[in-house]
Each structure stands twice: as C-alpha cells, then as structure tokens.
Amino acid sequence: MIYAEPRFKPGGDRFLEIEFGDELNLELNFRAQGLGQAITREQVKGVGEIAPFFSSALVHYDPDVIGYGDLCRELKRLIESVASSSDVELDSRLIYMPAMYLDPWSVEAIDQYIEKINPAKERDPDFVARINGLEDAAQLVRVHSGTEYWVAALGFWPGTPFMMPLDPRCRLFAPKYNPPRTYTKTGTIGMGGGATAIYPVDGPGGYQIFARTPVPIWDMQQKLDAFKEAPYLLRPTDRVRFVQVSREEFDAIERQCAEGTYRLNIVGYQKISLKRYRAWVSTLDQNARF
C-alpha cells in the first residue's frame, strides 16, 4: 500500500522514521530518495543525515536546532513539493555483476545448516522456486537473473545493497531463515522478504541463498578501479544486472579481483524516470514469468 499521507514516527530523541507505504514499489523508494535530495539541496536546518530505505526514510536531526514537531512540518512540506512534480528522474549507473548461480559455496553453507541447525530445512533454491510457483531451481535462476535490480538502500553493513527487481515479472518472495545461519561466504547472493542482497563479508545471515559473485562489494584496500572513491562498490539508485558465469569464469574473475586487474562493466550516464518506468510496467502482463 502507498499511504495517502506519509507517516512520521520518532526513533528516540534524535531520529525520525518516515513511512511512505508498506510494500516494495519503486515509487515509494523514489519518494524516499527524492526527499533525501531535497534535504541536501535545501540544507534543512538541524537535519544531520537521511538514510532512504525501500519504502521509508530514517532522518537524524539535532534537537538543539529543530524540535520534533517543526521537523515533521518541514519534512511534510518538502515531501509535498517533491510529489507534486510530474516526474522524478534519478541518476542511475548500471553495473553488470558476474554471478554463479547454484554455486558450490551456497550448497556448502546450506548443508552445514541442515546438518547442524535444522534437518527439516528444504534446500534454498528448491524452496524459493516451490513457494513462488516456479517449476524448479533452473527456472528460479532464469527469473532471478532476468531483471535489473534497483539499489534502494545501503545498510546493515557498510556498502551492503538492499535491492528490488525492476521487472515485476521477476518479483519473488521468500521468508528469512529462522533461526539464522551462522555462516555465509562473502559475495553470496540471496533474498529475504522481496529483497535481494549481496553479503559483503563472511558472516551469519538470514536470506535464502542460491548464487555468488566473485567481485567484492566492500574492499578497504580499494584495489579495483571501481573502488577509487570509497571502500564500497554500489550506491543508492544504482542498478545491478547479474550476468551468469561458469565455475571457470568465476575462478578467473576472482583471481583478477585479487590482483586488482578486473574491470567491472559499469554504464555511468543513465537516468531513471519514474513516469517512463510506470508507463513501461503498465504494458506488461505482471503474472508472466521467464
């Protein structure tokens, strides 16, 4: 649902959460991103930072400069000015990420979970395929890799992307692990709720996993060209396209990344228009799959 009026909720004495709706929908993320840009542009007094998420935004403010009530009024005004424009366009790079689907490392992590934590756990690719009405894991791979992903936010860990499929025919849902997995390998790609993410480092995790990229998304050594400006690869409003690779290609790219010679395919000049996106979506049979 898209709320008729954005909802404001306090998060302690110096944070505020704005909810624009309660679903994954590009329009909601555009509102959050648009508000972030407007705050930066107008340099709203007392606002420290804003972190847009899928359908909400977290705002940090200085209560010694602006009170909660005044801040809500000011943000409401900005939200209305953003919403009243007939279109919002956002800069968006397109990044091609090599990915090996149904990879051995995910299988290993799932095996470990089944053996040590939950013997009844259905294997992630089969499970996600089944609950989404797909034929099998092979179709899951086709559907999951058949769309561009919108980087709606970075969070949880520095540089970790929260992504949503732009093509509604590739929408998938999956519950998170309960209890969570204790181990996931760096670069593992998975999904939870309706979101897709890439694990930036080895660690625990709750997403259903079924692919892995050899390209780092977080590198404090900033070895690759794409990390020149920051230790993270992706930025909010980027798009990611997963390109299927074989084990041999995976290993070769991994080597090149370690040497610092791998060149990512990044298309840098594009803009995404909400109006044109809506027009395109309206032409689609949303129940179709690939």
């Binding site: 649902m1 909720k9 306090p10 998060g11 302690g12 004495d13 110096r14 944070f15 959460e17 909810e19 309660d22 679903e23 994954l24 972030g36 420290g48 930072e49 804003i50 972190a51 847009p52 998420f53 899928f54 359908s55 909400s56 935004a57 977290l58 940090h60 209560p63 010694d64 009170g67 909660y68 936010a153 970075l154 969070g155 949880f156 860990w157 520095p158 540089g159 970790t160 929260f162 849902f173 519950p175 998170k176 309960n178 209890p179 939870g192 709720g193 309706g194 979101a195 709750g206 404090m220 920051a230 230790p231 993270y232 930025r235 909010p236």
Partner: protein
C-alpha cells in the same frame, strides 16, 4: 605518544559523536558508549569534549608514556596505577616519559575512558577517528589497539590536578539494576497492549552475547497487534519482520523474539521492527552495565529525553571542573 604494552579487552580509539553523515552508505557512528564520562575526560585535560580518546572495556590496557603528558581517567574504576602507584579517576594527572599506566578489571562500571592532552592523532577516516572494530575501519589500522603499537598523540597543554565536581559525574548503580529511559517508537504500534506492559514491567537481563554492535536482552515473549500478522509478503513471515528499513541508534530491535538494543557499532538497517528506542541520555548506563545485570525500562517523552541529553551536555564543560 603512548606505547601499548598490553591491549586490554578490545580497547579502542573513539571520538564523539563519531562517524556521522554516512548512514545512507551503511556506516555506523561508532564513538564512546558512555559519552558522558568520555567527554568529561577530555574536558579535564583541556581538549574539546569530543576529541579522540580511549575506550577500555571490562579489562583495561597497560600503556607506557614515550613523552611527558597530562591524562585523565573517567568512567569505570579499573584500579589504575602509574608506575605501581594508584591514581585517582575523574582527575587530570601528569605523567613523565617512561612511566607506565597499568589498568586491570573494572571493579565498578564496565567502560573506562582515557583522555590525553592533545588527543589521539590517528588517521581520520570518513570524517572521524573512531574505531569500528568489527568493520575493520577507523582507529588504529581499523581495529582495537594491539600490543607493540604506538598510539600517536597531538601536541596539547594539559594541567594536572583538575577534578570533576562529584555533582557533575554519572552515578553508577551498585545493585546491578539499572533504570533505563526509553521512548516509544518507531514501531510500537506492532506490539499489543499486553506486550507493551510486559516490556515496561520486566527486568530484562543483559546477555553475554552482546558487543558494541548490539546488546541482547533476555526476558519474556512478545505479543503483537494485527499489523504484525496481516501484511504484504515482502515484509517476511515472522510477526517481527517488516520491509527492510533504517534502524536508529538505540533502537530496541526485535529479532524474532529476542530484543537487541542497537548500540554504537550498529547495523543501520534490516528487516525487523523497532518498537522502542533508548535515547542519547541513557547510553552511559548501557556503556557502564555488565552482562547479567538488568534493565528496567522507563518510558519518557521525546521532549523529556531531549532535555535530559541537554542537561548532560551542559555538564560536560569547564563549569564542572574544580
């Protein structure tokens, strides 16, 4: 310059308010947990209240002064000795080149702070010197201090013998039971009335599975409103799941049935609800409590929490020195 003889337990360089401004890239602020004690240590040695100092957790470090300097210790009592002679906390002290400051376990409180005149002069990363140990960034090569390292200190003029007035210091509980302020929201409407009452009437136990990213709490089960059950599938299947959203610092993040207070090195977004948030003014209590101790949460308004934070900041100033 301070040479690290023994590092203590994950002792790290922090500054205040830390690495702000990069939440949208997923960076936590880090910084000292007990910012009240931390700022007073800096004021004692003549630094700006937020200058980089050391946070010592549970077991303090042993450090050797490579040149003369004025330092101050605040927060937990780690029974510090300078060349074997006990030194008081909440007071600025002159050390000579070659002297060794030895700290041991925290007798009262959990975190001690060491400020040194001039402040630590480690590299600034994304606007701050604070350490995000788990993330491998800031501080000394991204991590807590290690034996053999030399911690760089900027030039500074400190005066020994300055004390913090007792009335300006935080008072740590001695019966292991803390009363911690909490504000309702952002997701309090996901918890039913019985659940809200249960939250506020329980003495929640701080789990040993806690670190500078999150404080896990042990206590009763949570119960939910209709909103937690009737929701679109992208929220996830657990009642505590919500479409991934940003987490405020201090959020009481409900991971299934386990509440986790998100503290300084927190993951700043994810798919669980945050029914309550611990405000700035209560963070010193979190910083000074040990696993096994309990929190009784006291609900306050946003405005009252802001006023209390203002009162503490006013105390972290020259007027508190005698």
């Amino acid at each position: 310059m301070l040479e690290v003889i023994k590092p203590g337990l994950e002792t790290s360089i922090q500054d205040w308010p830390g690495r702000q401004g990069y939440l949208k890239c997923g960076f936590p602020w880090s910084g000292p947990m007990d910012h009240w004690s931390f700022r007073l240590a800096n004021v004692l040695v003549g630094n700006a209240p937020g200058a980089a100092g050391l946070e010592c957790q549970f077991i303090g470090p042993t450090l050797r002064f490579q040149r003369d300097g004025v330092f101050a210790l605040t927060g937990a009592d780690m029974q510090a000795k300078l060349d074997g002679v006990p030194v008081p906390a909440w007071e600025s002290i002159a050390a000579k080149a070659g002297q060794t400051l030895e700290m041991t376990f925290a007798k009262v409180g959990a975190r001690a702070y060491l400020a040194i005149a001039g402040g630590f002069d480690n590299e600034v990363f994304f606007g701050s010197r604070a350490t995000f140990h788990k993330g491998g960034l800031g501080g000394m090569q991204g991590h807590a201090i290690k034996a053999g390292q030399v911690l760089p200190v900027a030039a500074g003029q400190g005066v020994a013998g300055r004390r913090v007035k007792p009335s300006a210091r935080p008072v740590f509980v001695t019966d292991k039971r803390w009363q911690v302020e909490v504000c309702a929201g952002p997701n309090d409407d996901w918890i039913d009335e019985a659940g809200q009452q249960r939250f506020l009437s329980t003495a929640w136990k701080l789990s040993s599975k806690s670190d500078r990213g999150g404080f896990r709490l042990e206590g009763p089960e949570w119960t939910f409103t209709e909103r937690a059950y009737n929701k679109p599938p992208e929220h996830g299947s657990d009642p505590a799941n919500i479409v991934d959203h940003g987490y405020p610092l201090g959020a009481i993040n409900l991971a299934g049935q386990t509440p986790i207070i998100l503290v300084n090195d927190w993951p700043d977004g994810g798919g669980f609800i945050n029914p309550y948030t611990v405000p700035t003014c209560a963070f010193w209590k979190l910083g000074q409590s040990k696993p096994g101790e309990t929190y009784q949460f006291v609900q306050v308004s946003v405005e009252d929490a802001q006023a209390e934070a203002r009162r503490i900041t006013a105390l972290c100033a020259e007027s508190s020195i005698e």
